[in-house]
């Protein structure tokens, strides 16, 4: 277990380093950054001044190692547009994105677990087919469009929920639902498959032979084992949701990290863009490791003898 964790940590570190390199390359793709920062009306003198001010006149490798060195100490540089520390900007926006991601995950789990269990218990019935259909529909739903439709229906016509902004918890319901849609199909399918497998296993026959109640058989004995892969995927899905929240934050005008990145892309504010890419990647890697740990908690066999 311990050597396994160490290996995971090394891989995680390597992944982060690779993403860092890629993020750096990504922002240099457009060629001369100084020109794009300065804008179309800048004179050559302006461009030179910018190049000097941001250290863009140094060799690329020097810039790269400078960035890496600073990032390792938590210093992600300075935003051109916001004139603020990038780390401060991200820290300020992160709560919104995290709230959104967690809301989405909770909604997704609240929907998928019962649906998956129901479909498994009623395998091959009309109900099962309905659940699978729901999963298919969810998979085909364009999230930004669903967001707009909810705004029109729940927001404007029914007036149940606020349309945009971050004032109260209600503001997170609609975006949460939309975000959840991207995770519901996978989680439902996995729950269903896991429950079907568990319900056919020998230990469930034992549980029935012990005369346990149906609830205990389903929820204690079967679900516990079916949940192991679901938990792992749920953590990974949360990572994808945080990465994908950029679209939804834009639709609902939620000023989270995704929105920040979107603004920065428009402004050629490359320190922010590369920092957000890096931070989201690191969060994803951390989540996959968390998933491994939770698996070890749920599955005693992984803890070793």
């Amino acid at each position: 277990m311990l050597s396994f964790l160490t290996r995971r940590l090394i891989v995680a570190f390597l992944v982060a380093a690779t993403v860092m390199t890629l993020a750096f390359i990504l922002t240099r793709l457009s060629g001369d950054l100084a020109t794009s920062i300065a804008g179309p009306n800048a004179t050559q003198a302006d461009i030179d001044a910018i190049r000097k001010a941001y250290g863009l006149d140094r060799p690329v490798l020097t810039q790269f190692f400078d960035w890496v060195g600073r990032a390792l100490t938590g210093d992600l540089g300075e935003s051109y547009f916001f004139k603020a520390r990038v780390s401060a900007l991200i820290a300020e926006r992160m709560p919104v994105t995290l709230t959104l991601g967690l809301t989405g995950l909770v909604i997704a789990l609240v929907v998928s677990l019962p649906l998956g269990i129901l479909a498994a218990v009623r395998e091959n019935t009309a109900l099962d087919r309905c659940v699978q259909l729901v999963a298919l529909l969810g998979q085909a739903m364009p999230s930004f469009w669903l967001g707009l439709i909810l705004m029109i229906t729940l927001g404007l016509q029914l007036g149940w929920l606020p349309i945009s902004g971050t004032g109260s918890w209600q503001h997170f319901v609609m975006p949460g639902i939309v975000l959840a849609f991207s995770a519901i199909p996978a989680l439902t399918r996995l729950t269903r498959a896991g429950m079907i497998q568990a319900m056919g296993s020998d230990y469930i026959r034992t549980a029935r032979a012990k005369g346990l109640s149906r609830a205990s058989i389903l929820l204690k004995h079967a679900l516990r084992n079916a949940a192991i892969p679901v938990v792992a995927i749920a953590a990974v899905q949360l990572g994808f949701m945080l990465g994908g929240s950029i679209v939804i934050e834009q639709v609902f005008a939620l000023h989270g990290v995704g929105y920040l990145a979107w603004e920065s892309i428009g402004k050629n504010d490359f320190p922010v863009v590369q920092a957000v890419v890096l931070v989201l990647a690191v969060i994803y890697v951390a989540l996959t490791m968390l998933a491994d740990l939770m698996n070890a908690v749920l599955d005693p066999r992984l803890r070793g003898p």
Binding site: G200, T206, G211, P300
Partner: protein, 324 residues
């Protein structure tokens, strides 16, 4: 007083095609060990599972009579059955490696039976579990209670299963080939344990096995199954002394009996395999492998009584002298 378990004309099918059990009848009296023997695939496990109403998805049972302590099991709903299972009637399975839930400790899986059926507190249940673990020969029961199934060997897991089955003092214990998956030394220990427990606790036991050596040692009665039917049933001594059905005779010939066997005499075996019989099957299922079979064997065979408590399913009028 009615018998502990009475099964009459039990039929089990899976889907519409296979009939795994075709009219099995057997009776288990209080405090006796009834052995059910037969080769692999003849429907022993399915019979036991049908009695417990634990058939896998798609399995359906039908019977003329299925009663436990005089109570009609066929009339019980799921809840009623659940109240009996693990309580008055318990079962041990063929697969000790996979029969325990990998996610919970031995202690948690054992105590939940008592808590469910007797409403005991966790403390009382834990004490009882520890006692029983000691009773089935597990040292350091306190330690084992906190362990997970994957930390135990197959033999230990089967002992845990046995202890778990005994939690609520059942009257009937169904043991489905409890030793098949274990290595030989452990097999003997587990069987000795079961026989001992049966005697000490006065259990009625339905022991499924295909090892006639075991039968000779522990059984009060024996029923021999073939292709979903009980082809012969008798008290143990009688069956060994005077087997009537050619299949039983063949089975007995496959077992080396010390003293009776000459050094150079080859051990017998029955040629061929068990046929798959469908719902419309008529006549004796053993006829293809039987050296006494003729055309009449393809018709309905009447059940005959050789002596009180000894009946068999064969058209042959006279006992065949097969064991010399």
């Amino acid at each position: 007083m009615s018998a502990l378990l009475e099964v009459e004309q039990l039929e089990v099918g899976f889907g519409s095609r296979t009939s795994a059990v075709r009219g099995t009848s057997l009776t288990v009296e209080r405090g006796e060990t009834h052995c059910l023997v037969g080769e692999s695939g003849c429907g022993k496990s399915v019979t036991a599972l049908a009695v417990m109403n634990l058939l896998a998805r798609g399995g359906h049972r039908r019977a003329k009579r299925l009663s436990f302590q005089g109570e009609d099991l066929l009339k019980l709903d799921d809840n009623g059955m659940a109240r009996l299972r693990g309580n008055a009637m318990a079962m041990i399975f063929q697969e000790p490696m996979t029969s325990l839930n990998p996610a919970y400790t031995v202690g948690s899986q054992m105590t939940e039976v008592l808590r469910r059926h007797k409403g005991s507190s966790q403390r009382v249940a834990t004490d009882r579990a520890a006692d029983l673990l000691a009773r089935v020969g597990i040292t350091a029961p306190g330690l084992r209670l906190g362990q997970f199934p994957h930390q135990l060997s197959g033999g230990l897991r089967q002992r845990v299963m046995i202890a778990m089955a005994l939690m609520c003092d059942p009257q009937l214990l169904i043991a489905d080939e409890p030793t098949t998956a274990l290595d030989v030394t452990v097999q003997a220990q587990i069987l000795r344990l079961l026989a001992e427990l049966q005697r000490d606790l006065g259990l009625g036991m339905l022991l499924i096995t295909h090892d006639l050596g075991i039968v000779a040692r522990v059984a009060t009665r024996v029923s021999v199954m073939y292709a979903g039917e009980v082809v012969e049933s008798a008290a143990t001594a009688q069956l060994f002394a005077d087997p009537k059905h050619p299949y039983t005779q063949g089975l007995l010939r496959c077992v080396p009996v010390p003293g009776k066997q000459r050094q150079d005499e080859p051990l017998g075996s029955i040629p061929g395999t068990v046929p798959r019989v469908g719902p419309g099957f008529e006549g004796c299922a053993f006829r293809e492998r039987c050296s006494f079979a003729d055309a009449t064997c393809a018709h309905q065979i009447p059940r005959k009584t050789a002596s009180p408590g000894h009946d068999y399913l064969c058209r042959l009028p006279a006992p065949v002298k097969a064991l010399t």
